[in-house]
Amino acid sequence: MRFRAKIVDVACLNHFTRVINTIAKLAKTCTLRLTVDKLYFILTDKVANGGVSMWCELSQGNFFDEFQMEGVAAEHNEIYLELTPENLSRALKTAQNAKTVKIKLTNKHCPCLTVAVELPSLSTSSRIVTHDIPVGVIPRRLWNDFREPSVPDFDVSIYLPVLKTMKSVVERMKNLSNCIVLEANLNGEMNLKIETDLVSVTTHFKGLGNPPWVSEDGSQSSTQDRDPESMAEARIDIRKLLQLLAGQQVNPTKALCNIVSKRIVHFILLHEEVSLQYFIPALA
């Protein structure tokens, strides 16, 4: 198993750092899957994670100047690592004006992801900062746990409002209640509601637009039969929603969510180089 990658471009480094920062806000530990073309940050929907799951995909070519990977075996040319993204985030934080950043898989008293940052310095040779981030190698027999989640059979799919606005609304609601109801319909309307004994607050968003989905067999999706006014709703933990909205630094070009009534909300944040999917299950 070998892995070596290098970033030389400042903009790429910046972007990569922002993705890592976003992941760090969403998960304490997660799985990093390396393939020849892509990097994936995966969080499975275990109870320990509170039922949320995450799937983040990056095309390595968009970030790395050099990328060499040799998986566990020829037929299974992939590497699965368990890591704490916060560590990676910290390592990259002070590397923003680096000449190069190299990331490689090493084995120093335990498997590590070593981030070597070459910084400009006044002297002849550069200053080198190395961070050894301990990782866990996930054996092949467990790889099945980390398969890409399928898009659920949703009731409504709708574009999200401006994330900043949505975030400030949810932030204020957080002080009043632990759960928030997210409902939307096929007319581009979305409501965020909280309801307690003392107060109920609803914020209405209109004119959001509904993304067109085509199902695999080419036939029209089942949502066509749905009454456009009828709302699909799910009651979710407000802190999980806030984690997503507040932590994200990806600045997606497209942000949408799919609601399976009373079951799960599936958020998709898309960017040319990065795609992030986040699932929040509905509360009972």
Binding site: H109, C110, L122, S123, R127, T130, G136
Partner: protein, 429 residues
């Protein structure tokens, strides 16, 4: 004592307070003839900070209420310890301080145990803070920088740039040097699982230092948290930071020197017990207090005590002279008191040997010059490493009971004052 700090210097003074606040919750306000020293020691006695403002720093500086005393006699030192919680709010917001305050008067009222900080602000506003102090003899680390084989000098900006790579929660940092290279790395205790924590290493070229002298290859581990106070202060003064150190176990000193201000942080370093040969010396601190009986008895030694500057690192000869006294017993396990042939004079450093199996020994002191040394009891650690604490001058003139199993430090010790006035001794404090 009375002094006036001009508006432009208030920021520096405030920064010094902030820096010292990182070390401890209390500090000594210690004015003397030459200027004002702020000293602090942390609770585990492993860090000492001192910021000394020479009289030039102040618009007006007067050490004693009565001007004649300034010239002729020595005034009794102000034994004043202030609580950081009460002083810090006065200097909390440095930006507003700089903008609004024209000058700050500080004066002491010994009879009522108060120090008054009077801030003259814009628009005729005067803020007066009366802070009570409690009497306490100031302590200072006696550490001879000249004796350190390794000396590095680096721009404060650069040093901050280096330390920024360590996470704020990183407690200890190791600096490893050879004549060819320097490396700062994060340190984790062995008990903590290596596979959980992130390790950071920074490799530097000796070129990056303004001055680079490595006499002995060494690896010393010190507490970064405590250093950060000095780094912030250094950045404000954009000075060069000098680093003096030796092998592991010996203290490391970070200092800044300017025309008007000198700041010095002396930190204990982790000692590698396994590699210890003979006596390991921890930092010794002596109390700056009068020691009339000693002075009387050893009036002839008065010359030995050179003029003590604020950081008192000129006792190198006394260190050297003390060594032979102690190496002999480094390996012994006896409890018999040891007599030092050469009597101690004021400001002597008492090397304290910390060794795993040595029991606490307390020696009685008599007029002839026996020294009472208190050594630390070290329970046998399964852990190989321990921090050497900085010991305070554990010299006493009175007979003391043997106290075992406790870390002893303070005993009434003599002053380390500038002039030795043999005929006229002020009353015993």
């Amino acid at each position: 004592m009375k002094c006036v700090i001009g508006g432009s210097h208030l920021r520096v003074f405030g920064r010094a307070i902030h820096a010292i606040a990182r070390i401890s919750d209390e500090f000594w306000f210690d004015p003397n003839e030459k200027g004002l020293a702020l000293r602090s020691v942390n609770s585990s006695r492993s860090a000492y900070a001192c910021v000394f403002f020479s009289s030039m720093f102040f618009q007006h500086y007067c050490w004693t209420a009565e001007p004649e005393l300034c010239r002729k006699k020595r005034q009794l030192p102000l034994m004043c310890k202030l609580v950081m919680k009460s002083v810090l709010p006065v200097f909390r917001c440095l930006n507003t301080l700089e903008r609004n305050v024209e000058k700050c008067n500080i004066y002491t009222n010994v009879n009522e145990c108060h120090i008054t900080f009077k801030l003259f602000c814009k628009h005729g506003i005067v803020k007066t803070h009366n802070l009570a102090f409690h009497e306490s003899e100031p302590l200072q680390a006696v550490f001879s920088r000249h004796m350190c084989p390794n000396v590095l000098k680096i721009q404060s900006r650069l040093l901050t740039d280096i330390m920024i790579h360590f996470p704020t929660c990183q407690e200890e940092v190791t600096v490893a040097v050879t004549p060819m290279k320097v490396c700062f790395k994060s340190y984790t205790e062995e008990e903590i699982d290596f596979s959980k924590t992130m390790h950071t290493k920074i490799h530097l070229n000796p070129d990056e230092f303004d001055y680079f002298q490595i006499g002995v290859d060494s690896e010393v581990t010190f507490c970064l948290k405590e250093l950060r106070g000095l780094l912030a202060f250094a950045e404000a003064t954009s000075a060069t930071v000098s680093i003096h150190f030796d092998v592991s176990g010996k203290p490391i000193a970070f200092s800044i020197e300017d025309m008007m201000v000198e700041a010095s942080f002396v930190l204990a370093t982790l000692a590698d017990i396994e590699n210890r040969e003979s006596s390991q010396q921890s930092l010794c601190l002596s109390q700056r207090q009068k020691r009339p009986t000693l002075m009387k008895a050893h009036a002839h030694n008065a010359e030995n005590v050179s003029n003590n500057s604020a950081d008192n690192d000129d006792n190198t000869e006394t260190i050297a002279s003390k060594k032979p006294c102690w190496t002999g017993r480094a390996h012994s396990n006896t409890e018999s008191p040891v007599e030092c042939s050469k009597p101690l004079s004021k400001g002597d450093i008492i090397p304290i040997i910390s060794k795993k199996d040595v029991n606490l020994e307390v020696l009685d002191m008599s007029a002839a010059g026996d020294i009472k040394i208190v050594e630390e009891v070290e329970p046998s650690y399964s852990n190989q490493y321990k921090f050497h604490s900085l010991f305070f001058g554990a010299v006493s003139f009175k007979e003391q009971d043997v106290i075992s199993h406790t870390l002893h430090s303070l005993a009434t010790a003599s002053d380390v004052e500038d002039d030795v006035d043999n005929e006229q001794l002020s009353q015993v404090v």
